[in-house]
């Protein structure tokens, strides 16, 4: 797996996937755009929490096009959302077999395994996800969490501690749509599907300090290496990986990926830059996952000491307020969409659409986090809604 990510491989699709996508397009009998619309409809219904409707629609669609990977994937997500783990496992497993090049089904399988405390299986699935696409940020992030959890387990066994004492399940991020998702409505019909799948190669804004995934930095940027590893070389995936990661993910959920999609353009980009974007993304996703798992320590730790709560609240009052709002919900999910990150030296801005669900609440809003680097860590300095 530690083969270095080659931009080309990363953003284009393997023949298998392409074949699948083409098949979809073909089945769509001249109306692939329609298919895209249906995917979106299902996705929208899901986001609105209308899971039954979404399921009905997905099944109707699949009756005609049983092999459509995107819809099968969506169906799996619905099953997951409705607690049908076994079915979801079956759906994602089948997808991993039919389209082994897609990282998303592996990722979601891993999420389910992790929720069942099967961390070794989760790890294998995530490693497969990353093998298919070394720059898959969500899978990388999830894998980091799984490694951390496995490490805790191993340490607990080393110390012969009761596992139950230490087991707070990590909440891993579910990927809700395939990277190959059709782009926002309104895009041109026809070959859109295929085109959208490859959105990336789009006109690369190569100028940006884009997360240049160039293989080169790997050797050059020991920064993210988790260990004072022996040879920077063999340092395995996590090390080099986090760097090039960021881009595709956002694309994943993003209805309007256009702006974001960074380019693999083997830009002569500064080696250091990409690390930052990926770092920010993980901080932000970590923040969201801490929130979702109601892990207040982690959640609050994401905010820097210079964080000033909005509305003139004191830090302490704000913390208490947050605690009261977060802890005790039967479940929380926080999904980030259209995550866009700008890094500017020691500060960074992350904008995204936050889809928050808790108990019966379902709120989607725009959110902006301003982050500040102190030492090796990034902290949230300001949080604002809108924009």
């Amino acid at each position: 797996m530690p083969k270095s990510p080659r931009p080309r491989a990363r953003f284009s699709f393997s023949p298998t996937v392409r074949a699948l996508l083409l098949a979809v397009a073909a089945c769509g009998t001249a109306l692939p755009a329609l298919a895209a619309t249906e995917h979106e409809d299902v996705d929208r219904l899901m986001q609105a929490g209308k899971l039954d409707e979404a399921m009905t629609k997905a099944e109707a669609f699949l009756k005609d096009k049983p092999r459509d990977p995107q819809m099968r994937f969506l169906k799996g997500v619905i099953q997951l959302d409705t607690g049908k783990r076994t079915e979801a496992i079956a759906a994602f497993t089948q997808l991993t077999q039919d389209a082994p090049e897609l990282p998303e089904p592996f990722n979601n399988l891993a999420v389910i395994y992790a929720s069942q405390n099967q961390f070794d299986k989760a790890r294998n699935a995530l490693e497969s996800a990353i093998r298919t696409n070394p720059s898959y940020a969500t899978a990388q992030e999830n894998l980091g969490d799984v490694y951390a959890r496995l490490a805790s387990q191993a340490y607990s066994k080393a110390l012969q501690l009761d596992q139950n004492n230490t087991a707070v399940q990590p909440k891993l991020a579910v990927i809700r749509t395939l990277f190959t998702a059709p782009p926002a409505a309104g895009s041109k019909g026809g070959s859109t599907l295929v085109a959208s799948a490859t959105t990336t190669p789009a006109p690369a804004p190569a100028a940006k300090p884009a997360p240049a995934p160039a293989p080169a930095p790997v050797a050059k940027a020991p920064a993210p290496a988790p260990v004072p590893a022996p040879a920077p070389v063999a340092k395995a995936p996590p090390a080099p990986a986090p760097a090039p990661v960021a881009p595709p993910v956002k694309v994943a959920a993003a209805p309007a990926p256009a702006a974001k999609t960074p380019e693999p353009a083997p830009a002569p980009a500064p080696a250091a830059a990409p690390a930052s974007t990926a770092e920010i993304e993980s901080v932000v996703r970590g923040w969201a996952s801490a929130w979702a798992s109601q892990d207040m320590d982690r959640y609050l730790a994401a905010y820097g000491s210079d964080f000033v709560p909005a509305g003139g609240q004191s830090r302490k009052a704000w913390e208490e307020d947050r605690r009261a709002r977060i802890v005790g919900k039967s479940s929380i999910s926080v999904n980030l969409e259209n995550l866009a990150i700008k890094v500017d030296g020691q500060t960074a801005t992350a904008r995204f659409r936050q889809v928050y669900r808790a108990d019966n609440l379902n709120i989607a809003s725009r959110k902006t986090l301003e982050l500040q680097r102190s030492g090796n860590q990034w902290h949230i300095r300001k949080e604002s809604v809108g924009g």
Binding site: Y147, L150, A151, P228, P230, A239, A241, A301
Partner: protein
């Protein structure tokens, strides 16, 4: 976060690096062993032969490597002194039969040390799968996993990991790791024996020496050509260390002993694992010095533990069950000596023979005095408080008379001699031998305890074994 992994792996690196240089010579050494005991073992894990090979280390540059701060440095260090390392590898006794689990653990260190983190992780994973109760392996596996967590994942379980790493019990695991590596890096020089083993009767087919400072038990096979190190194992000793003096001090005795029995594991609590081999502590020398306590055993581990911390018993010597099982097949009740030392001194076989000759002169003189029938002459060999073990204590005078009647004028041949030398504040010798009168087939087997006073060897205790 990586501190732990690094701390563990660095010695591993030194170890591993060492081996690269000596791979050629160690290969031959390994081939030699594999013909015998190793072969069967190697089947267990495909990698074990390789691992055992890599685990054996010349000690030439190990100090420098230990100090190397980064792995890269360690690797670089090791690259230059290739020649010397090769040399030392040739003269050091190879690891021959470390338990499969330990050899596999060392393999993990070695891979990590070479930067092959993925392979190390995979091996560690199968190791903990096969030995989930091997705590040190779990620690190493945990370190390798934690090393895979990108630093940007700062949030997830890191607090938990930090807390676990801060657990005081980690110190013991790190110490276990350190001692295992040390013992594997600092091998006994080839052709040497612990200084206690001056000579060993071939009736004792095996002999055991425990080095508490290294948490290591060395098993020797005693054949016509002398003693040969055939295996060594990680062991734990008393919580309070060694030099047992009184009952309940949680110390492991130091001295020369014999295995007195083998207890059926079915009759034992789980706590003792695969079995137990009591030794004759307190021996007559201990008794003479007023040491107390009892029930010092070599035994195994409870099911939930593969191995125990270096200092963890109440005075017993504790081994991993697979290791103990190997030992159980080899020891002979009453005939297998067990030396327990704070730190073993290794001497060459010729030097051991020289020492043996010196002491043999005293035995011969004792024998001649007895044959001479001169009581005054013979008495010089006994300390006033001499005792012979029997149902009731027998005083020195009656023993003297007894000996004179027993042996007067007859020619006696001494055979199957074992001399075990023990030196601490005093210089003592445990001599075991058979004596046969001319024209007879059988005779007595004696075990005598001698003490050197003012340069003269004197008897203070004797057991007639049969």
């Amino acid at each position: 976060m990586a501190a732990s992994a690094l701390a563990l792996a660095t010695p591993g690196v030194a170890l591993a690096a060492n081996n690269h240089n000596s791979s050629a010579s160690s290969k031959t050494a390994n081939a030699k062993n594999s013909g015998t005991t190793k072969a069967a073992k190697a089947g267990g894990s495909r990698a074990s032969a390789k691992e055992a090979k890599s685990a054996k280390a010349g000690s030439g540059s190990s100090k420098a490597q230990l100090q190397a701060k980064s792995k890269r440095a360690a690797v670089a260090d090791s690259a230059s002194p290739a020649r010397p390392a090769r040399k030392t590898a040739r003269t050091a006794a190879p690891i021959q039969e470390a338990s499969g689990a330990e050899a596999r653990l060392i393999g993990v260190y070695e891979l990590f040390g070479r930067g092959k983190t993925r392979e190390a992780l995979a091996k560690a994973q199968t190791l903990v799968r096969d030995h989930p109760n091997f705590q040190l392996a779990q620690l190493v596996y945990g370190d390798l996993l934690a090393a895979q967590v990108p630093p940007s994942n700062a949030m997830p379980d890191t607090a938990g990991i930090a807390r676990l790493r801060g657990n005081p019990a980690m110190v013991e695991l790190h110490e276990e790791s350190r001692r295992r590596l040390q013992a594997l890096r600092e091998r006994p020089p080839a052709g040497t024996v612990p200084s206690q083993f001056l000579t060993l009767s071939t009736r004792s087919r095996f002999a055991i020496a425990v080095d508490a400072s290294r948490s290591r038990l060395y098993l020797f096979e005693n054949a016509d050509k002398g003693m040969k190190l055939v295996a060594d194992y990680y062991i734990s000793v008393g919580k309070s260390g060694t030099d047992k003096a009184v009952e309940g001090d949680a110390r492991t005795p130091l001295g020369v002993y014999y295995i007195t029995s083998s207890l059926d594991p079915r009759s034992l609590k789980d706590f003792y694992g695969a079995g137990a081999l009591p030794i004759n502590y307190p021996n007559p020398y201990d008794v003479r010095r007023g040491k107390t306590g009892s029930g010092i055993w070599l035994h195994g581990t409870p099911p939930q533990q593969f191995a125990r911390a270096p200092l963890a018993s109440d005075g017993c010597v504790v081994m991993a069950n697979p290791d103990l099982k190997q030992l159980l097949r080899k020891v002979q009740i009453g005939a297998t000596p067990v030396v327990t030392a704070r730190s073993l001194q290794w001497i060459s076989q010729p030097q051991a023979e020289k020492e043996e000759k010196k002491f043999a002169d005293s035995i011969t003189a004792w024998k001649d005095a007895r044959a001479s029938g001169n009581e005054a002459q013979l008495k010089k060999f006994y300390l006033p408080d001499f005792q012979r073990a029997s149902r009731k204590p027998v005083d020195a005078d009656s023993v003297l008379r007894d000996e004179l009647t027993y042996a007067q004028g007859k020619r006696v041949q001494i055979k199957d001699v074992s001399y075990l030398h023990w030196r601490d504040t005093e210089d003592t010798m445990v001599a075991t031998f058979g004596e046969v009168f001319e024209g007879e087939k059988n005779g007595r087997t004696r075990r005598q305890y001698w003490l050197r006073q003012a340069g003269e060897w004197k008897l203070f205790h004797e057991e007639i074994l049969g």
